[in-house]
Symmetry: C2
Subunit: 360 residues, 2 copies
């Protein structure tokens, strides 16, 4: 009542036209200042900048995107953000991208192929400028076909998909597992069992290869291999691993699996009255909050999680700036962190392995 139309229009956010008028310039000049273009007189620039603050102007992201065909959004497809490792990836990725004014949209697959398809679709619909992918399967034909059709820059984390032009950040799990076995062998272990994440993803394949290579190289005996499907990631799976490894007389277990699984292994070993590391040594995988809370303090082979996501973010930035450059593959090393869950094998076990040793 009694208000002028102007005062009632307060709700509407100021547009670039409002800004231009308030600063007494054209939209073009206002836009130039907004985008840091060089050809603007210093006083003009200062005046526009001051006006931006005064009227609390911020550019309309949708309009800018429509014009530039860039959404300034990157999507991250991930099995579960609540997972200790993927959560860390997401966190660092977002921090890095934000410096370039790029936002991170997440979509979770829930560890399922169909969920992954849906998540990917939602990210495409969102018209992200690039995608970072922690896929649940990098081997199936479906993965490759689907990815090829996306038409946006792709960064794969620890995955290799054939026939897809993507930038890739790899971790050397093969070497990581080898480090673990070197460590165990030097402690005197002769019979070693291993659990790896499913071989549909590269870390599983590499860890398995490292396991076999290490055992062969040191002339050890394998107490068996367990492959963990994504859908079975959890403590229960760990229980089964523990049972199998104890059953086959392993004095050390390399757990190249998510930490919840390793926690299940320890849990079951404890229930079976098998002491760690006195009776059995355990090596975990990755060093997150989760691992840090487990007792005994876990000896782990750890991916440098921050480094992986930093590299992923840099690959994105460089790719967005130079869309046609050839795909890049970067590899980071894993680190063996020796703590309290590994020790020399018990005397009994050592004795048992002696005859085998001399047989060779």
């Amino acid at each position: 009542v009694g208000e002028t139309p102007e005062t009632r229009t307060v709700q509407r956010d100021p547009t670039i036209l409002d800004l231009a008028r308030a600063a007494n310039v054209s939209k073009t000049t206002a836009s130039r200042v907004l985008n840091g273009a060089p050809n603007v007189a210093p006083e003009t620039r200062a005046r526009v900048l001051e006006t931006i603050k005064r009227i609390d102007y911020r550019v309309n992201a949708a309009a800018r995107s429509l014009r530039t065909t860039r959404s300034f959004l990157v999507g991250y497809l991930v099995p579960a953000v609540s997972n200790d490792v993927f959560g860390k990836f997401a966190e660092v990725l977002e921090e890095e991208l934000r410096r370039d004014g790029v936002g991170l949209v997440i979509a979770t697959s829930g560890w399922h192929p169909e969920g992954e398809r849906l998540a990917l679709e939602s990210l495409r619909a969102r018209q992200v400028d690039a995608l970072v992918l922690s896929l649940g399967d990098d081997r199936g034909r479906a993965a490759g076909d689907r990815l090829r059709g996306i038409g946006r820059p792709l960064v794969l984390i620890d995955r290799e998909v054939e026939g897809v032009a993507a930038d890739v950040v790899l971790t050397d799990e093969r070497n990581g597992v080898k480090q673990a076995i070197d460590h165990l062998a030097s402690l005197g272990h002769r019979t070693i069992g291993g659990a790896v994440i499913n071989t549909l993803v590269r870390p599983g394949r590499e860890a398995l290869a490292g396991l076999r290579a290490g055992i062969l190289e040191h002339g050890l005996e394998s107490a068996g291999e367990v492959v963990v499907p994504y859908q079975r990631v959890g403590r229960q799976m760990g229980h089964e691993i523990a049972e199998q490894m104890v059953g086959s007389g392993s004095s050390a277990i390399v757990c190249a699996v998510p930490t919840t699984v390793t926690a299940g292994v320890l849990e079951r070993l404890d229930e079976l009255a098998v002491r760690v590391p006195d009776d059995v040594s355990v090596v975990g995988f990755d060093d997150s909050d989760l691992a840090s809370v487990i007792r005994p303090r876990l000896t782990v082979i750890a991916r440098p999680l921050e480094q992986v996501s930093q590299r992923a973010s840099r690959l994105i930035t460089s790719r967005l700036g130079e869309p046609t450059r050839p795909p890049r593959v970067e590899t980071v090393r894993m680190n063996l962190l020796v703590r309290d869950s590994t020790a020399p094998p018990p005397v009994r076990a050592r004795r048992l392995s002696v005859p085998q040793r001399s047989t060779r």
Copy 2:
């Protein structure tokens, strides 16, 4: 060479005009089908739908946003997504919102006020339709002033900011802590210490109130209160809590703090050769992967994390559909989950408390 211009234009995504032409309708009709408007002839609709599939059309999000002034994006401001609890919130939130075709953009504050300001700013710039906030401080004037200026629907998770019209999902930490104390009192504990998250946030204030009320109600003795600043969330803080509580003769510690802190408490107790639960009982807060991995299995008061984020997502949906409805406040209860970290106090301690009992 020799290609027609058409074949070279393959890169460009089809627009609604391409769709309309291919389906032999107008842009208007195409748009109607896209948005499920009712007034389209069944055959027309079928034809357009078929064409959408055939040419793999998907609507340009930026253009749609520009027209509708909706970005179909919700922002989640959070101290750290790698945190077990916030990660879970983010995950469920994304799953729920996706059903409504809404994406989730995250921004992390790194537990710092300045980081929070920046994160909030980046979310605003992203022009999200609504914001979900896990703030680091819901008391300071800054929080309220900043939030009031946002001009977008707000959902606060476990926070209360005065003078801000926001929908809110609360957890009843006061009652949760009371449940823990009831439990401890019924086990025979007479001297109880407590640690709570900082009182700049509601859970800290409520937990502290619950702690005091419970101790008073049962006529117990307080072994002291420790308040944990956000910046000090970590195991080291837990060490200090353990030392203080042991020093003041507490036979039970209520840890209404992030699980990493509680893990630090257990760690230090172990180093001090104080057994849990034989010498001291410990109650943790929240039940995540982190808590599930700690030994002894933690008795906890737990927020129903999925429920909290589901409610948050529903509040958003309803708010977006009905922007002017009055703000809603919903409260969920905490659950006491009794496991292995709580037991009757040691006999010595029980004896000590007897005289006090009879003195009353």
